[in-house]
Amino acid sequence: MSLKERLENELEIQKAVNSPRLKRQFDPFGLAIGIAAPLIAILIALLLTGLILLISGKDIFLIFGEMFRSAYIDNFAETIVKAIPLTLTGLAVAVAFRARLWNIGAEGQFYAGVLCATGLALAFPGWPALLIVPAMLAAAMLGGALWAFVPAILRATLEVNEIISSLMLNYVALLLTDYFIFGPWRDPKGFNFPVTATFSDAARLPIVIEDTRIHLGLIFALVAILIIWLVLGRTQWGFELKVMGENLNTARYAGIKVTRNIVIAFVLSGALAGLAGMSEVTGVAGRLQQGISPGYGYTAIIIAWLARLNPWAIGLVAVLFGGLVSSGFTMQRIGVSSGLVTFLQGTILFCVLAGESLSRRLLYLRALQRHS
């Protein structure tokens, strides 16, 4: 090869290496559908719910108006309080869903976290906040992780369907909670109500916004959003989960340790749900009572799905759903069953799922057109 040829060759290589980065094609249509589909789904769900209300002879404008005012204007702080556990559980299921692991057990993992935090709070009423809060945090995350470890290891090694096993463990956690509050942890001064004694002030999360019930859990949720966003979207491990979610065989082919990652993803998911439980019991109630979760772990599934597993969107959607939860009480005040809220949630999930597959189909067809 002559010198000139070599130089030209070298130049060619340099050009190839320095070639501009491939451009992501901006697709306004895709973006519009991505935003519009869940909004339309929510609208349809509202219409359907409205229809039911109309049939039962209620004034839907009054009800929806009250609902909106209560959720997002009058009691917005309460909505944020509800959004905290919803964000954390939403992130929890999103981590697992990313690898297409169906963690339906966030509710149980939430209760596992609640139990661990409560146990510590009751056992060490004398500890200062700087000691007891981190201890409860660690214990709750560990508890949630352990609760998730059971379906995880069964799935990873024996291919036991994680939907069933994680769901079943929810009942175990719930009944275990009942056992403790009806049994050993029942407050002796509680007039026989199934509640534990009130935690020491040190074991209660501080309020971060005055004159509201918004507590330190808000910071937990925001930090968790940031971390999960980085982990899922930017790291090698997040990439591995994504590949696993697309195709387990391809993941194995790429040398990804699939079994190990299933367990880690599930355990991380459980830890987040456990954290949600700890923040709820120590931040809001200050004692363990029955029904401490109105089904956060289940609503989380809807939230994660609606947000398409995007951590920031999970935070937003959690606020939206927080409003639904917090307005439930207002509903009762104006004579509507609080079951309405659950009904609305369920309808939203249905519509979102339908909208999801519809819009995916639409995008696919369009992409086909653009490519050929």
Binding site: S19, Q25, F239, E246, N247, N249, T250, Y253, A367, H371
Partner: protein, 539 residues
């Protein structure tokens, strides 16, 4: 027009079927006479499958009319089509593997509705098989049958259900040469009995030897219908019609036109090849891949490999042929670290490979281009960049701490797209939108980027058109020229003969023989026997 009767068994007029962005069938006219074997030819994507799907009622045409035996009909579904006597034998059979032949046939029966007289079905099938010389045991469980037997069962099934118009989609793709000959005989007999037969293929040799007429599709249009008289030059004419231009030497090889010349000279080495010759330096150094007494246990759905021994030297392409499902996939996956090894050894140079995971193997220089592109080598839902970095997203050069450096990944992909001229609209759209040829290019770009020592390739051109096939072959040749050892696992014997320096034959998880890649009749017969499990004494 052949003059048997005036009423064609099938007549399609102006059939048009559009899919988003494509016109799969563009005003196609097509007819088959009773007693005729009519070949339907075309490259992948030319519209053959769509046309057949319309004929069996899977798709409704957007425009056009279907006449069966002179009657205009609208087919509302496959059951409707079979009721009107149209049967399709798929390339990948649609039989339930854990049921018997008779049970499978009974599955397709619409009458009687509630009563099932299986014994009657069995007797009828036996008689029907004897009549058409398509012997199949009706009591046999389908999963235990050979591919050829399954195909006979499938043909019998549609005949039993009353088909007089029979379409076969690439029926010889998985058959041994002997089984192919048997199938052709049966088809000729069926035609003589007045059945109308549509034979879909892209193998010109088979078409001219079997069919009376051929309709050639290109880009969704029927470009010609030819009467086949066996003239010399007929195949070249068809080839030209199929690819729409004069076939260059590479395309000719892909279409099996050039190999004939080689076969007559009986000596592959002296024939000038359009590819750079390379295997000269191969034999000096030791083997790249050395497999000794390798056994792999299959699970319920896969076959086992028993005591397989072979080697591949640097710069050598060793082909492995056999009927599908004889352990090829398990062997490939064991070599790539995806399937556990029961016993024996796999050596790359001096390094023992057994027990290593796919990533370690890849690092040592083993590339794997699996047959299942979107299900194993790539992930359909991931974009091109994600797919491109699958093998080395974890490397130091690609990352910053635990974070992936996307700009490096994007540069690598841009280079690969340019180098392999991958036709891509949006590299950040999911891979499933890419054509088979472009997917294979992407896969090759990734697997060959690191200059691997050993390349395991399985059916690399399945589903690709002639141009893409030629490209894939040239890339493999290029890697061979750079000293890579290539282990090529193929079901298409023609492809194996074309590429390989040596051929191994696999049957039921054992290598039954090693043969030279020659196209002469004795050798082909020998290969056929080895593929069918006879003549194991050679090794």
């Amino acid at each position: 027009m052949t003059a048997q009767t005036n009423i064609p068994a099938v007549k399609l007029v102006g059939i048009t079927k559009r899919f988003p962005g494509v016109i799969a069938n563009d005003h196609i006219n097509f007819e088959v006479q009773p007693g005729e074997i009519h070949a339907l030819l075309g490259e992948n994507g030319a519209g053959k499958s769509t046309l057949m799907s319309i004929l069996v009622g899977l798709y409704r045409p957007d425009e056009g009319e279907i006449f069966l035996r002179g009657q205009k009909t609208i087919l509302r579904g496959p059951a409707d089509a079979i009721a009107q006597g149209v049967g399709l034998v798929y390339q990948h059979f649609k039989l339930v593997p854990n049921q018997t032949v008779a049970e499978n046939v009974a599955l397709g029966m619409r009458k009687p509705r509630f009563v099932l007289n299986l014994r009657q079905v069995e007797q009828d099938l036996k008689k029907l098989g004897e009549k058409h010389k398509l012997p199949v045991n009706p009591h046999a469980v389908v999963g235990t049958l050979s591919v050829g037997e399954q195909q006979r069962a499938e043909i019998l099934r549609v005949l039993y259900l009353g088909a007089t118009i029979l379409a076969l989609d690439e029926p010889t793709a998985n058959l041994t040469p002997l089984e192919t000959a048997g199938l052709f005989e049966a088809l000729r007999r069926l035609a003589a009995d007045g059945y109308a037969i549509i034979f879909i293929s892209h193998k010109l040799e088979e078409v001219v030897s079997l069919a009376q007429r051929a309709t050639i599709l290109r880009g969704g249009k029927a470009v010609a219908t030819l009467n086949l008289k066996g003239d010399p030059g007929e195949k070249e004419q068809i080839a030209r019609l199929m690819i729409g231009r004069e076939a260059d030497s590479l395309s000719k090889i892909e279409l099996g036109l050039l190999d004939e010349a080689e076969a007559t000279s009986q000596n592959r080495q002296t024939q000038p090849s359009p590819y750079p010759s390379s295997s000269a330096s191969a034999s000096i150094s030791g083997p790249t891949l050395q497999v000794v007494n390798l056994s792999v246990r299959g699970d319920k759905r896969s076959s086992s490999i028993t005591k397989v021994t072979f080697e591949v030297r640097p710069g050598e392409i060793v082909g492995l042929v056999g009927v599908a499902g004889n352990g090829q996939r398990e062997l490939a996956e064991a070599l790539a670290g995806l399937h556990p090894v029961e016993s024996g050894s796999i050596k790359l140079g001096e390094t023992e490979l057994t027990g290593k995971n796919p990533r370690q193997l890849n690092q040592l220089g083993v590339a794997f281009v699996p047959e299942d592109r979107l299900g194993l080598g790539l992930a359909a839902g991931l974009n091109l960049e994600d797919n491109f970095i699958l093998r080395d997203y974890w490397r130091k050069e690609q990352s910053f701490g635990p974070f992936i450096r996307r700009e490096v990944a994007g540069q690598g992909l841009a280079k690969a797209i340019k180098q392999y001229s991958i036709a891509v609209g949006d590299p950040y759209a999911p891979a499933r939108l890419l054509s088979g040829g472009n997917l294979q290019k992407l896969l090759l770009a990734r697997e060959l980027a690191t200059r691997p020592k050993l390349i395991i390739v399985a059916n690399p051109t399945r589903g690709l058109d002639v141009g893409a096939s030629a490209y894939v072959h040239s890339k493999l040749r290029e890697a061979q020229g750079q000293g890579a050892a290539i282990f090529l696992i193929v079901e298409d014997l023609d492809e194996a003969l074309l590429l390989s320096d040596r051929l191994l034959v696999i049957y039921e998880g054992q290598i039954t023989g090693e043969v030279p890649p020659l196209r002469n009749p004795q050798n082909l017969e020998h290969i056929g026997l080895l593929m069918a499990g006879a003549g194991r004494s050679i090794v």
